[in-house]
Amino acid sequence: MNSETSGFSDAMVGLSSGDLRQIAAMTESSPGLEPPLALLTGRGRHLDDATLLHLMTVLFTGREAGSGELSHTLLARFGSLGAVLSASNRELESVNDMGTHMVPMIRLLQEAALRYNRARLPPEDVLDSEQKLLDYLTARLARENIEQFRILFLNDKNSLIADEAQARGTVNHTPVYPREVARRAVEIGASALVLVHNHPSGDPTPSEADIQMTMQVQAALDVVGVTIADHFIIGNGRHTSFRRNNLL
């Protein structure tokens, strides 16, 4: 299947004439019918979070009754579809009338969405599109409430061979051991790494500890012949590239 439109754009080129007739009919009929059709035909990106949450709730609970209220509550509580999908089980369980299916299905949808973002990375060279790389890293880390460290392991063509979460942070910094990073890189057979971590504060400015740690990791990797392609810090809607800031 050819995907020239390998982004989030409307990739569903295969609309049947029946779908097209339905879409034409929609302009006259009730606008309430349109969101399910938009979602069905792969045009869900035009729908707002409230509508998507409602559709999602109906599909996951298997019924219309109560879905409007529940999806409204989720949006009021968490603020966005992205935030709902990133909320912890305990946070979701504090919402009334969730039932038994919603929490695991939300976890599942979050994971499916992360795999979708990862699949958008260019297979031949993940560094070829910084936007797609940042989309994936943002999806992974931007809403985490703890500092987390992640490493993308690349081969000599910059293809992704592994993608692993590392340590979770402390109050001041994330404990990353240069020796362990080097060991894992050699074990996997990586030629280059992309380091990434998040700042839950939303401000991606590197701390002194971030810079020192990166230098130590680089020194360890130099010994075994592995390079750091870049180190990204993910904030809220902002990011830092160590390479762009001449910190590598």
Partner: protein, 229 residues
């Protein structure tokens, strides 16, 4: 409570319902990241396909379209030709649009709860769909920014509950807590002892319990101001 159903152990069944319940329990307990691609698809189809075993369907779809994400992006007609009804197809469209939303920035900043006004403002939104009788905990960092807002862990004794709260606070790197009861039936005076115990339990870990609030009719009341903490 609205979230508890009569306890039926569906995981004991060998039919499709037992299997689905087991997989949902697995995702709840260990997350979805260790699921194979076909298992992700199999479980998404739980929402679109009632009752049937969706594993062969999932494997068949991935085999035909090439990969999990290519199933998500497949043309509507092709998915219908593969036997999927429209609701199942809608479920399969969700990951793509969810991916886009996750990749975008968050409009709402994490709130800072450094004073009473900020706290009351936050509670307005936090009480939406709140479950009556629950104790919820606001875990804060050293600038009083909200790290998480979660129900207090279940436990048989107050000591065990405080232990679970402490463990969660340490995991979140929280340095302060604020508790609030959602429309409790108990009188505030009866909740005082539990609040004091929590306060003392947190101190050796340098975690400060700022306050415990009682919410219900009218504005929330502060146990600290009421001398109950």
């Amino acid at each position: 409570m609205a979230n508890t159903y009569p306890r039926i152990d569906l995981t004991r069944g060998t039919g499709p319902q037992g299997h689905r319940a087991r997989m949902r329990a697995r995702v709840l307990n260990t997350g979805a990241s260790t699921l194979a691609d076909y298992e992700i698809l199999e479980m998404l189809l739980f929402a679109g396909v009632p009752r049937k075993d969706t594993k062969p369907l999932a494997k068949g779809l991935i085999g035909h379209f090439g990969s999990l994400v290519e199933v998500f992006r497949a043309p509507t007609q092709a998915l219908r030709a593969a036997g999927l009804k429209d609701d199942a197809i809608r479920v399969l469209r969700l990951p793509g649009v969810a991916a886009e939303r996750l990749a975008s920035s968050e409009q709402r900043e994490r709130p800072t709860l450094g004073n009473w006004d900020q706290l009351v403002t936050y509670l307005d939104q936090a009480l939406e769909g709140g479950i009556s009788g629950q104790l919820r905990l606001l875990y804060l960092d050293n600038r009083n920014r909200l790290l998480a807002d979660e129900t207090a862990p279940d436990a048989d004794t107050p000591t065990e509950r405080n232990r679970a709260i402490a463990i969660r606070a340490l995991a979140l790197h929280a340095t302060a807590l604020i508790g609030f009861y959602v429309r409790p039936t108990e009188r505030p005076a009866d909740l005082s002892q539990a609040a004091r115990q929590l306060d003392f339990a947190m101190r050796p870990l340098s975690i400060t319990l700022h306050d415990v609030l009682i919410t219900g009719e009218g504005p929330p009341s502060s146990m600290r101001q009421g001398g109950l903490l």
